[in-house]
């Protein structure tokens, strides 16, 4: 039996012992995860530095703070999330219990990505644990230091049978995908997303796919470009452009393009100083393959800013391209690198048309003082999420579901949405074996009279407090007795 299959079987056996179900156990595991993040922050930062040249301040900020917040939220809200959720009653169910009971799905497979290798594995894991599941964790092998670290750390802190870490490359991932899971949670690109869903379909396993795309960023003409460009620069060049919700390209009027370039240049200087290459805050491409992929996109384009690169260091300077059109090579795929094309559009109508001609992106950004324009952009385009007058933010608010649509993915998570996504929300109706008189209406032999009564009972809806319900129940019982006696 392969190692992958063994890990899955162990997780399933552990799940079937039911020990992941009690809320105290889930809370204990979440607290252990919290401890791991606090105690091992240095090791995590070191691994991320080796993988992506993230510096020691970037890591806690962008990978860890969010996770700690999610864990705190889950710990606080778990009793509420896991409790039965009562549903509205009708006349027919007035004396019954009608509710939705969240339950664990079983064994969840979490496949992480390499760009935020720690966060993109731990965040879904928090949801999986909170929902009472077992989880098999497969970090991305591309961010190898973090993958190795996760393999070492997680078993030291959380239950190693319930939450095994499986490391490896493509063959190991394929072997994992041949096993049967109760949910597969994948973060990555579209091409592999399709393969993951196809593999899952063989076992009728539901999936959550957090994919990417080209996230457009529209800048209205009358904006304070210095603020706008500073925010865009921050979001775009963070992690060397390797963020799934980074603004991929900008749409703006030709007349402001040169100013945009200027402001970005200013912001870059503020952030990274004069010599970018030596700035401890500027990242690197994850590997040579991606380095080559992104530098190839620059061929034949007009470089307005940046363009320098160093293959040995996987360094690409923050770059801005102008004169880009819809058919340029750089507009055909998600850039996932520090290259920002500026595409001219004459109006917001043209921008909306341009966006709608393309696949639905993971994020959409619009900068404008005109709230009507913003609302129009939201209403007339589709994307996973939207942040107006800033970038990336919708990711950070736990109350907002985070996910894609169309080619950018399916399903969403964060906060309570993670819990719900990785639970089965089971509808429950608890009746008693009395009040049979009412039921008689539905039994054969059928009659027109019974049909009229049935129509009445089913179509009436009630929204009452407890006292109201009791009063109505009493009246109802009397009515039912009357009906049974006289007509049935």
């Amino acid at each position: 039996m392969s190692m992958e299959k063994q890990a899955v079987e162990r997780a399933r056996t552990a799940f079937l012992t039911r020990r992941s179900r009690p809320l105290e156990f889930r809370a204990q595991q979440l607290k252990a995860l919290q401890r791991m993040i606090t105690e091992k922050e240095r090791d995590i930062a070191a691994a991320l530095k080796l993988d992506l040249n993230k510096n020691e301040f970037q890591t806690p900020l962008y990978e860890l703070v969010g996770l700690e917040s999610e864990i705190q939220l889950a710990l606080e809200k778990l009793p509420e999330w896991a409790a039965p959720r009562t549903a509205e009653k009708t006349l027919l169910t007035i004396s019954d219990e009608v509710y939705v009971q969240p339950e664990p799905l079983g064994v969840v497979l979490i496949i992480g990505a390499w760009n935020y290798p720690f966060a993109l594995v731990i965040q879904p894991l928090i949801g999986a644990i909170a929902a009472g599941n077992a989880a098999v964790i497969k970090p991305s092998e591309v961010s190898e230091h973090t993958a190795r670290l996760l393999g070492e750390l997680l078993p030291q802190y959380i239950d190693k049978d319930l939450y095994p870490v499986v490391n490896g490359g493509v063959p190991e991932t394929q072997e994992l995908l041949r096993q049967r899971f109760d949910h597969v949670f994948y973060t990555g690109n579209c091409a592999v997303g399709k393969l993951v869903m196809e593999a899952a379909s063989r076992h009728l396993t539901p999936v959550t796919l957090e994919l990417g795309g080209k996230s457009p960023c529209y800048i209205d003409k009358d904006c304070d470009l210095s603020i706008v460009c500073r925010r865009i620069t921050w979001g775009k060049y963070m992690n060397c452009g390797q963020t799934c919700i980074a603004p991929d390209y900008v749409l703006c009027d030709q007349s402001i393009q040169s100013r945009v370039v200027e402001e970005i240049k200013k912001a870059l200087k503020e952030f990274y100083g004069d010599d970018l290459k030596t700035s401890p805050d500027y990242g690197r491409m994850i590997n040579q393959r991606h380095f080559k992929r992104v530098t190839a996109l620059l061929e034949g384009e007009t470089v307005a800013l940046g363009g320098e690169s160093d293959e040995a260091d996987c360094f690409i300077a923050p770059t801005v391209l102008t004169g880009v059109t819809g058919s340029s090579k750089v507009m055909q795929e998600e850039i996932f690198g520090p290259v920002l094309p500026l595409v001219s559009v004459g109006s917001v109508d043209e921008a909306i048309r341009f966006i709608n001609q393309r696949e639905k992106p993971l994020a959409l950004y619009v900068f404008s003082y005109d709230s009507k324009l913003i609302k129009r952009m939201i209403a007339e385009t589709s994307s996973g999420g939207v942040t107006a007058n800033d970038v990336l933010l919708h990711y950070s608010i736990s109350a907002l579901p985070f996910g894609g649509v169309g080619n950018s993915g399916m399903g969403s998570y964060h906060g309570k949405h993670s819990f719900d996504r990785l639970s089965h929300l089971r509808s429950c109706l608890i009746k008693s074996l009395n009040m049979e008189a009412v039921n008689k209406v539905r039994y054969p032999p059928h009659s027109a009279k019974k049909l009229s009564w049935a129509r009445f009972f089913i179509l009436k809806r009630v929204r009452l407090g407890t006292l109201g319900r009791l009063a109505l129940l009493a009246a109802f019982v009397a009515l039912a007795a009357l009906v049974a006696q006289r007509f049935l």
Binding site: L105, T387, L393, L433
Partner: protein, 502 residues
Amino acid sequence: MLPSPSSPSPARWFRTLRRTKSTEQSSKLSLSVCTELLRKSREALASGRTLREEFRLSQLEALVRMLVENEDEFVDVLHKDLHKPRFETVLSELILVKNEALFAVNNLKKWMNPEYVARSLVTSLDECFVVSEPLGVVLIIGSWSSPVQLNLVPLVGAVAAGNCVILKPSEISSHTTELLQRLIPSYLDTECYHVISGGPSDLTDLLELKFDHIFYTGSRATGQQVMQAAARSLTPVTLVLGGKNPCYVDRECDVGIAAQRIAWARFHNAGQSDVAPDFVLCHTDVQARLILALRSCLLQFYGPEPRHSASFGRLVNAELFTHVRDLVLASGKVAVGGEMDEAEKYIAPTVLTDVLESDPAMQQEIRGPVLPIMTVYSADEAINYIRRKEKPLCLYVFSSDRKVISNMMTCTSSGSFCANDSVLQSMMVVLPFGGVGASGMGSYHGRCSFNTFSHRKSCVLRNTRVECVTYLRYPPYEDRSLSLMMWASSLSRRSQAWCQIL
């Protein structure tokens, strides 16, 4: 006494041949027509008309009118397809859909409004909300057992959510499909909503086209095929799949009442239901009483000759008849019923006992008016049996002991659960209905339908003018700014937004 299986007659061969020929013709017709309909739907979507609340309301109201004005026709076609009595058609098909449509009409405004998430001091300058938008063009493939309900309830959800729809009712319930094909264009917008028909080979072709959501009710095998095809274009799916729904009858229970409720659920629509109890698990003591009670119920419901009762249905076609007949012949012993007539596709309400786990009736989905009873020693044994099998769409328990009900619920999993009755939980607008594991994924009914056919888009609208606070997040990163950030975000943690300070 059971009739011996008759040998296929020349007339039957000829009928099969004719059906194959017409299926082939419609198969060639379907794909090109569908491509064109898909194109039309996308154009209609792009026009923006489905985005308007008034439009969606008018379509939902038209759907209700369609059901009300054509009640007799619906009763007629369902009688032709399934020998469904008027009562069942009106209640479990028409009223159910009407209920869903009216619920959507009454709540549409609320559902379409943005949902603001809790604001706090830190987020007070921003607007954070979730807005629901249509997915696009939805493909709905409804099953034949309750052809009106299974096609039109998802249609209600898709319309309410602002999508365009291509509806493909089953070719097996052919009269109902034909009626839907005729009526829907007269009531609903002909650019946005289309009805097509076709056989199984058409489905493969259809699934090559790109939709924005596929909603399928039917068998597991086809469900897998649907999901596999959907994967190629990253299309989300909702699958509501059939299987074997267990029903445990406890010793502590009013067996008479339990029998009535079980009998109603199992034998309505001649057992052709995805949600009815498929088999019973009970103690030997209970079995004898249960059989007596069932026999008496059936007499009360359908009279001494169910074949002559207007309240009892027929199997939808010869294949299904053969399938159910073969299951009965190879499993256990007939305790009640067992009479069959192939020409009429009639199988009497039948109860089987002395059934073993390995019998065909316990291995395959029955889809007919046959209820096997398998004995177990205890509730725990029943639980172990249920857990050995795939997660069912529905799970039923009859008991007056709350502990038994609670135990059964916590120790098993199923799409939905009902204690002391059956089927009803699948008819309620307020409860999401769907499967889990092998019984499917996703759910619908009521608000849940609206959500299933929507994309819930998270939006944050920030203020451009207040920049000072955001300075903390920009490089160069220093220890000082990090501590400040950590402090600030510890404030934020309480407001459920970890980097609001960003």
